[in-house]
């Protein structure tokens, strides 16, 4: 009996010991965010182990993506964010109608034009072969600082032809803006703003930018039928005797509508660009090779090709139809090269264009989850 009393007293002491006035640490438990894999899409995702996606991280990333103070400056004429160039209505490209970048050729805060035009910022969570026209950011890059979207954020802030800022100034600025430290705490467990966490948050938001509900997606799911012209274009798109787009740009079996691989597609005969695929791979056959862009939402993007030489899709189709340039570096998939192209007649050109337009995803282009927030944390 005496033993039992001792045990009871001891247990009571143990249980009530936690009632002292010591601060109780709140466990950091952000809400995991899971990507729903759309029909036919890859199940392998490019999400770094050190940056798991969370609801809080994505929310913070969305603010940062749209906040012009990412430039590290506060003067109205010195603001620049990701969204300054990456416009949702243009599938997060600049678009030829960009109000500040005529023809869709972006320049940085200092007025220096970017070396290449932009790539669409969609479905990037499925890109594991390399980001950028040359694929210079890739997961197993021996240079650890050049591997993923997170690194792209830092490079954008530092680049002379983009923000031309410095990471310390940027993180210090956000530390002082009301509301942001709290958001960093929710997302990463600390209210101390670090640039690494700025990178992480923006990258998390970018990985949510998924386009998968175009007319063609609905056709794949059996929800709608394509018009006869669109079907004709689809056949052209997916046949070697037609336009043979699918080997590089996907289709039913590869709904990313890109391989994310790099091809010399016959634009030139001389290659002097120091930032082509050759600059990364060192393979001589990669002279003049660039990433095959996704054709999703391609209708609203532009200008086209790495140097933005074509303003319209019609020009692009005409190029592939009749204007290919022979060089020793042409990719072997360009088997129509010696004919100058795929030789489409006007009706085929129209059909192909109509099919490509079925890849426009209006739901994505207007999705409020991806758009600029109504107000920033210090405006609430």
């Amino acid at each position: 009996m005496r033993t039992n009393i001792i045990i009871i007293v001891s247990l009571f002491a143990l249980l009530t010991g936690g009632c002292e006035d010591k601060p109780v640490p709140v466990p950091f438990e952000p809400t995991p965010y899971e990507i729903d894999i759309p029909f036919g899409f890859p199940t392998n995702l490019n999400i770094p182990d050190d940056n798991p996606m969370t609801v809080e991280g994505i929310q913070l990333g969305r603010y940062l993506f749209y906040d012009g103070r990412l430039s590290g400056r506060t003067e109205p004429d010195s603001l620049m964010s990701c969204a300054t160039c990456h416009r949702q209505e243009r599938s997060f490209e600049a678009g030829v109608d960009h109000p500040d970048f005529p023809g869709g050729f972006p320049h940085g805060l200092t007025g220096l034009q970017t070396h290449h035009v932009m790539l669409p910022m969609i479905n990037l969570v499925w890109n594991s072969t390399g980001y950028g026209w040359s694929g210079f950011l890739y997961p197993d890059n021996p240079v650890e600082e050049l591997r993923n979207i997170e690194d792209f954020v830092r490079l954008t802030v530092l680049a002379k032809d983009e923000i031309d800022g410095d990471t310390a100034t940027v993180k210090n600025l956000f530390q002082t803006i009301d509301g942001y430290p709290q958001l960093f705490e929710k997302a990463f467990g600390s209210s101390t703003v670090t640039f690494r966490n700025i990178e992480r948050a923006i990258a998390q938001f970018v990985r949510t930018l998924i386009s998968s509900n175009s007319k063609f997606d609905k056709y794949m799911r059996g929800e709608v039928q394509l018009s006869q012209s669109e079907l004709n274009g689809y056949v052209l798109f997916t046949t070697e005797e037609g336009a043979d787009c699918f080997h590089c740009h996907g289709g039913f079996g590869n709904p990313l509508f890109t391989t994310h691989l790099f091809y010399n597609n016959g634009k030139d005969t001389e290659f002097t660009d120091p930032m082509d695929r050759f600059s990364i791979s060192g393979d001589p056959m990669d002279h003049g090779a660039y990433k095959a862009t996704t054709l999703r939402n391609i209708e609203v993007q532009g200008p086209y090709m790495h140097d933005g030489r074509f303003a319209t899709l019609e020009e692009v189709i005409d190029f592939y139809s009749h204007e290919l340039q022979v060089s020793p570096y042409i990719n072997p998939l360009m088997h129509h090269i010696n004919n100058g192209g795929i030789q489409l007649i006007p009706t085929e050109r129209e059909d192909l264009l109509n099919f490509i337009k079925t890849l426009r995803d209006d739901e994505f282009l207007t999705n409020e989850n991806f758009s600029s927030p109504d107000s920033f944390p210090d405006e609430k």
């Binding site: 072969t129 046949t239 079996g253 590869n254």
Partner: protein, 289 residues
């Protein structure tokens, strides 16, 4: 075995206990443990008598790609095929499946019957080694065979959603499923132009009016029956076979395949693919490592 049970009994029944009820619980517990142990022992004896332990090993296939008996030098215009085409090879991608081991008495063993359709890509080193998952009973074997491509039952669209396998998709309107083979390169055509060729195999089409009206499809996958090669699978060891694709053979026997005749693309040319299929039976050789 019985001594083990007795030992348990002793251990349990001699445990000190302050209460009589505790001893009772321990005694019941001891009986229960004894029964379970006995059942386990008896059942394990049964298993031993019914299914004697069979020693087993593993099989690994390594894929090599040669022309004229030498490893290919890619993107180098230095080869001549049987038809006299001066050509180069840029890349090769293909599937093999249904690997089967044959014994001299005619017994066959189909490995990894459904799960593994192996993808080989000359640009991706790790694909050039295929570790078959199955445990293989130790023994002597006389040869292997495999399916080049994917058979009709398995070749379903969207079964590979992840790259690089998904990039092998074969368009639905041309029969669907996946390319069995992509062999891409260039040759000097009759006009002395360097011209790309895409030597691609997959489901063929029968046309009412080429290239628009398709009336039927042709399954072009085929079984490669490799010649005799004695090898054995040893207990707890991995046997390695080197499978060599002799690329020049795609263009030689029994048909002299001429790029100038078929042009740069053959996905919609069943006659060309039929020649490739028949030549394909003679493309592979192998050896033990």
């Amino acid at each position: 075995m019985n001594s083990k049970i007795k030992t348990n009994k002793v251990l349990l029944t001699t445990l000190p206990g302050p209460l009589d009820s505790g001893r009772l619980i321990i005694t019941k517990f001891t009986i229960l443990i004894t029964i379970i142990a006995a059942i386990l022992i008896v059942s394990s004896c049964d298993n031993n008598s019914a299914d004697p332990i069979v020693s087993s090993g593993k099989l690994k296939l390594e894929f090599l790609h040669n022309i004229d008996g030498q490893p290919i030098i890619y993107d180098s215009l230095m080869y001549f095929n049987e038809a006299g085409n001066h050509y180069l090879v840029s890349e090769i991608q293909y599937f093999i499946s249904d690997v089967t081991l044959h014994q001299s008495d005619g017994t066959t063993l189909l490995l990894d019957s459904w799960e593994d359709i192996h993808y080989v890509d000359t640009d991706i080193d790790e694909t050039k080694t295929y570790y078959l998952k199955d445990d293989i009973a130790s023994g002597d074997f006389s040869r292997i065979s495999f399916t080049f491509g994917i058979n009709e039952e398995k070749n379903n669209s969207l079964m590979f959603v992840n790259p690089p396998k998904s990039f092998m998709f074969w368009p639905e309107n041309l029969g669907g499923g996946y390319h069995y083979l992509k062999l891409n390169g260039k040759w000097i055509n009759e006009l002395e132009q360097v011209s790309p060729y895409n030597f691609h195999l997959g489901i063929g089409q029968i046309y009412y009016s080429y290239p628009d009206s398709i009336t039927g499809f042709v399954q072009n996958y085929f079984t490669v029956e490799m010649p005799e090669l004695l090898f054995d699978i040893k207990e707890n060891e991995t046997t390695t076979l080197q499978i060599v694709m002799n690329v020049d053979s795609w263009f030689s026997s029994p048909h002299t395949y001429d790029h100038n005749q078929w042009g740069g693309d053959i996905m919609q040319k069943q006659d060309a693919m039929a020649q490739a299929v028949e030549n394909g039976h003679n493309v592979f050789s192998y050896n033990t490592k």
